[in-house]
């Protein structure tokens, strides 16, 4: 498996290109913007995007979908039935799908947005805006924050310490690091172990 992070400088979002070692069918997570750099990354590795996984429906993480669909014949996977005007393959908590030879496990973690999903490929977790290095996702009010914390504790905090976390914004991290140094989680005084 190869993971290529791509940073969209306009809105500071991360997209992730995931494919096999030697080209072929590949997956794009959260196409914030399909710029020439990302297309170059896809084409130089001889990838064909067959699936586009959406962690949540916020426009800044999905704005690249129309351009992506003009170039590649990809299926969109998300919690919502329609994203950016395109029908999706709807996913929900506990689903497991096989795409491009990768087994992808899906967990639902509402809080930051009602349709937030995280995707797990092996020990790699693509968290969108649910959990980033040093912080949890922003929420509109305290009730949503408590929902997000509850979901984080009951899903992510049960995962292995060595799990790699690739968020929708900012640097990559590991779950061990977040347990020890995530300011938002520590401030919330939740039980992390």
């Amino acid at each position: 498996m190869r993971i290529y992070p791509h940073f969209n400088a306009k809105g500071a979002e991360n997209s992730y290109l995931i494919g096999p070692d030697e080209g072929g069918d590949a997956i794009l997570i959260d196409p914030a913007d399909i710029d020439t750099e990302l297309i170059g990354l896809i084409e130089s590795h001889h990838y064909n995007i067959v699936a586009c996984l959406i962690t949540h429906g916020h426009r800044r993480h999905t704005a690249g979908i129309p351009k992506l669909m003009k170039i590649y014949d990809a299926r969109i996977y998300a919690a919502s039935p329609r994203i950016a005007g395109y029908d999706t393959v709807q996913l929900s908590d506990g689903d497991s799908v096989e795409i491009a030879g990768f087994e992808i496990k899906v967990r639902s973690l509402p809080g930051h947005s009602p349709d937030s999903l995280i995707y797990m490929i092996g020990k790699t977790v693509f968290t969108g805006d649910v959990l980033s290095a040093g912080r949890i996702g922003t929420t509109k009010n305290n009730a949503e924050k408590q929902i997000l914390l509850y979901n984080l504790i009951n899903t992510m905090m049960r995962m292995d310490d060595n799990s790699l976390i690739y968020p929708g914004h900012g640097a990559a991290t590991k779950l061990r690091t977040e347990r020890i140094f995530n300011y938002s989680l520590l401030e919330s005084e939740v039980k992390l172990y």
């Binding site: 790699t124 290095a133 640097a171 991290t173």
Partner: protein, 202 residues
């Protein structure tokens, strides 16, 4: 990406060092020598070194010049007197490592993780270190001068006698850091975050 296979020793969840079925810590001395030799050969023969896992290794006087290091995992390792010059380090994990008297000169470090590490007497000078994770580091007598640190994260770190001079600090996160004798001379700390509230607003 490095292998996510776990060590075959019961109770150990550390990732294996290929081609063996055990992690570096549980490898025999002979296996450790072979793993280290394989890395040395890659460093001397290959331009791109990728998918290496050595967790809990110890490196002294390692010289890496003009190489590309990708998708590798060196967590919990010790690096002493090592030099990384004009090296690209992309999507690599150096979390909870110890770096002593190491230098990263004119290197390009992206999407990499150094969180929880102790960095002592190290020089990160003239580097591009964007989108990297330095959360919870102990940085003592070290410098990050003439660097582009855009969107890197130093939150919850201890920064002692550390300089960030003439560096780009846009969107750098210093939330909840303990600082003593830290210099931001000729840099732009006004564009960095020193609290979570500032980060939320921007």
């Amino acid at each position: 990406m490095f292998s996510f296979r776990e060590c075959s020793v019961p109770g150990c969840r550390t990732y294996v060092s290929l081609p063996y079925s055990v992690c570096y810590h549980h490898a025999t001395d002979e296996q450790k020598r072979k793993i280290e030799k394989a890395l040395e050969e890659k460093l001397s023969n290959d331009q791109i070194i990728r998918d290496v896992t050595i967790i809990g290794g110890a490196f002294r006087d390692l010289k890496v010049e003009g190489k590309v290091l990708k998708a590798s995992n060196f967590a919990f390792s010790v690096f002493m007197d090592c030099t990384f010059t004009e090296t690209k380090i992309i999507n690599c994990f150096f979390d909870f490592c110890i770096f002593i008297r190491c230098s990263f000169i004119s290197s390009n470090i992206r999407y990499s993780v150094f969180s929880g590490s102790t960095i002592r007497n190290c020089r990160f000078n003239d580097d591009v270190m964007i989108h990297s994770n330095f959360m919870g580091i102990d940085s003592i007598d070290s410098s990050y001068d003439q660097c582009d640190l855009y969107y890197s994260n130093f939150s919850m770190s201890k920064l002692i006698r550390t300089s960030f001079e003439d560096s780009n600090l846009k969107r750098v996160n210093y939330n909840a850091c303990l600082t003593k004798d830290v210099s931001f001379r000729y840099s732009n700390p006004e564009e960095a975050f020193f609290s979570q509230d500032q980060e939320d607003v921007r």
